[in-house]
Amino acid sequence: MPGVPPGLRGALPVLIALPVVVVFELLLAGSPFATYLLSIMGVNIILAVSLNIVNGMTGQFSIGHAGFMAVGAYVAGVLSLSLKEIALSFLPVAVSDQVFLLLVLLLGGVAAAVCGFVVGLPSLRLRGDYLAIVTLGFGEIIRVFVQNTEMFGRALGLSGIPQTAGLGMVGFWVFVVVLVARRLAGSSHGRSLWAIREDEVAAEAMGVDTTGYKVRAFVISSFFAGIAGGLFAHFVPIINPGSFTFVKSMEVVVMVVMGGLGSTTGAIVAAVFLTLLPEALRSAFAAMGAEGSLAQKVDQIRMPVYGLLLVALMLLRPQGLFGTKEIWEVLPRWLPRRRKGLA
């Protein structure tokens, strides 16, 4: 961003983005389906981008992201259930609801971040697949815990959470996580993370506190996973353990890898694509003989097809959509190119 006074540069994206999300929200207020789909998409983007900070940038292989999401979702959910009937006297209800939402989201995020820290600690000793399986195990433990806790609604799940998370809020957090990821990547801290991914020993020898950075990567990423969970809990009518299984974690990992490890924009594109894919298949199948007797079976075919598409995509583009690069680095030359490592 040339020609922008440095003082403003920090705030500029905020100033641009906030009106955009608000406009978005107003435009789509009329069509719940689009709103819902976009919200799910937003949550997936947050998950993918945040997981990318650990898996992509730091090269630590974590597959327990759904666990952190669950923590955020349930903490935030329980909190706003208890705050449901309360409003701020000096604000209109709608606004005060948003204030509370922001509050519980943050709390949920912090709770998830603490868990992230606890899970991050093993990463000081474990490598590769062993770390992976530990994160997976953690995710499952969280699920079992929720399933056995009366407060969390056990198997039935938690319903009646005020549906206060509009597109605006989701969009805002999407924007925040992307901003954080990009600026991290551009900062010396981000470079330290890259360094750890590339060669831990060398990084350590060059004065990078590898253990510290790894843990902090976990903390940040799980914080946003928690936020994603919190948002999820505030526009999906009911959250139950079935939504946070390791299959969910896998979906997020798939997004990250498909986007290209370390590529924030890649993660975003992959998240968007993989969220729309099932709906697209649905439309496609509905289009061909919707009410035929086949149509009843059609919707079942989506998931197997989804699986096969994954295989095909990885075979076609093993390095992910953009490799480790960002989208503008792989776009055609005539577009103004930007140097890697600048936010």
Binding site: L26, S89, V93, A94, P162, D299, Q300
Partner: protein
């Protein structure tokens, strides 16, 4: 940073000071409508959006019904039965000339047994496909998710087999054609205590299914109230196939019966393993048992066990026999309770569509609410003011390849 923290605290204090009860009443309808208003960005006015957005049918000569149920995932087998039941009902309705000269069409979406998918499917059905009415799901948590959306959009919804009371409490557009957990739990407790004269029972519940937990709670409470003793509650998770550990633990307490409020997919195997471990006492269960697969999975082991159900497929009534025959012809195999209930739900819907003056959400809702003594396969359906079906339950005894009717328990 140093100055930042106190400021934050101050702000918090201010907010806490400013807290107060929300002014408007929290009756389900306004509550949910307000929520959706928020859901759409806190911008829409806090009035029920029911009136101002009447869903219009897909096209003039067909009425489109929406179904969302789990066709894949852990509960797929129940979803498939549900789908078949509905499909059959609609086919028959169309053969009978449809509704007011219009053909009926169903659009079935898979929710993979996940609430968020269910909500997504329903939102799509309502807003993209413009269905006039929604049927589904089996699992209560999914139905709850769907109910929220349907209620908000003012599209009536009938759940065939979600037995959790909370579902219909979501609002006045949500109906159900089956009895609810508390009643079913009570039925089996009563039967075990009074007919079978059991005084010691153990419970083996499916910890992954709210349905199973719900039944367990009621059964244990009622059974102890009636002077029985629960020797212990063990749990498994849907999808397990080895229950020996639980059964070995149960065996120690030497109960006279084991209450297994799970789904047939597990119960059959449980029975086999119980016998294998030398547990000869009968198993007791609920409508989740009902499927001909039960006899295949349970073999001789399951024989002599009892379960409460919505109907008995060998009820001589011609109406029922016809249904069973048609279903066999169409899908091969005796329809299970889920299929029967789905069939009923679909028929109630068709009936309501016939009665309703127009196909607006409100009109159909009122028509459904009128349903009285509707001759369903699974007993006559009368909807009470809570929009739940009030109907008797039957208790069946598992025999060889089929189960005999034992008794009927009225609410």
């Amino acid at each position: 940073m140093r100055r930042f923290v106190p400021m934050l605290l101050a702000a918090l204090a201010f907010m806490v000071a400013g807290c107060e009860k929300k002014t408007q009443p929290a009756s389900p309808e306004t509550e949910t409508s307000k929520q959706t208003a928020q859901g759409q960005g806190g911008t829409a006015p806090a009035t029920p959006p029911v009136a101002d957005t009447p869903p219009t049918p897909a096209s003039s000569d067909t009425l489109l019904l929406g179904v969302a149920t789990s066709l894949t995932g852990g509960q797929a087998t129940f979803g498939v039965s549900t789908r078949n039941g509905i499909e059959l009902a609609i086919k028959e309705a169309n053969d009978a000339g449809g509704v007011k000269g219009k053909k009926l069409a169903v659009r079935v979406y898979d929710d993979q047994g996940k609430p968020e998918e269910a909500a997504q499917a329903v939102t799509r059905l309502i807003n993209q496909d413009k269905v006039v009415l929604i049927l589904g799901d089996v699992a209560s948590s999914n139905s709850l998710a769907m109910a929220e959306k349907a209620q908000a959009a003012g599209v009536p919804m009938i759940t065939p087999s979600s037995t959790n009371p909370a579902v219909t409490e979501k609002g006045d557009f949500i109906f159900r054609v089956c009895f609810i957990d508390p009643f079913q739990g009570f039925v089996m407790a009563k039967f075990a205590r009074e007919n079978l004269k059991f005084s010691k029972a153990a419970v083996l519940q499916d910890n992954k299914s709210a349905y199973s937990i719900g039944l367990t709670d009621v059964f244990t409470r009622k059974f102890t109230e009636m002077g029985g003793k629960i020797t212990g509650v063990e749990s498994y998770s849907q999808g397990d196939t080895d229950y020996r550990a639980q059964l070995t633990a149960i065996k120690k307490a030497q109960p006279e019966a084991i209450y297994v409020p799970g789904y047939y997919s597990e119960v059959g195997v449980i029975a086999r393993q119980a016998r294998e471990l030398g547990l000869k006492v009968p198993l007791l269960g609920g409508d989740g048992w009902d499927s001909e697969k039960l006899y295949e999975l349970g073999g001789t082991a399951i024989q002599g066990s009892y379960f409460s159900n919505h109907y008995s497929p060998d009820n001589p009534e011609p109406r029922i026999q016809k249904f069973v025959a048609d279903y066999k012809a169409a899908y091969g195999g005796v329809p299970d309770a889920l299929a029967a209930l789905a069939y009923d739900a679909a028929n109630v819907a068709v009936d309501a569509l016939k009665k309703a003056p127009d196909s607006s959400g409100k009109a159909i809702r009122d028509a459904i609410a009128q349903t009285k003594g509707f001759p369903g396969i699974a007993g006559a359906i009368t909807l009470d003011e809570k929009r739940n079906a009030v109907k008797p339950a039957v208790v069946l005894k598992v025999g060889d390849g089929k189960s005999e009717y034992v008794t009927t328990v009225n609410p």
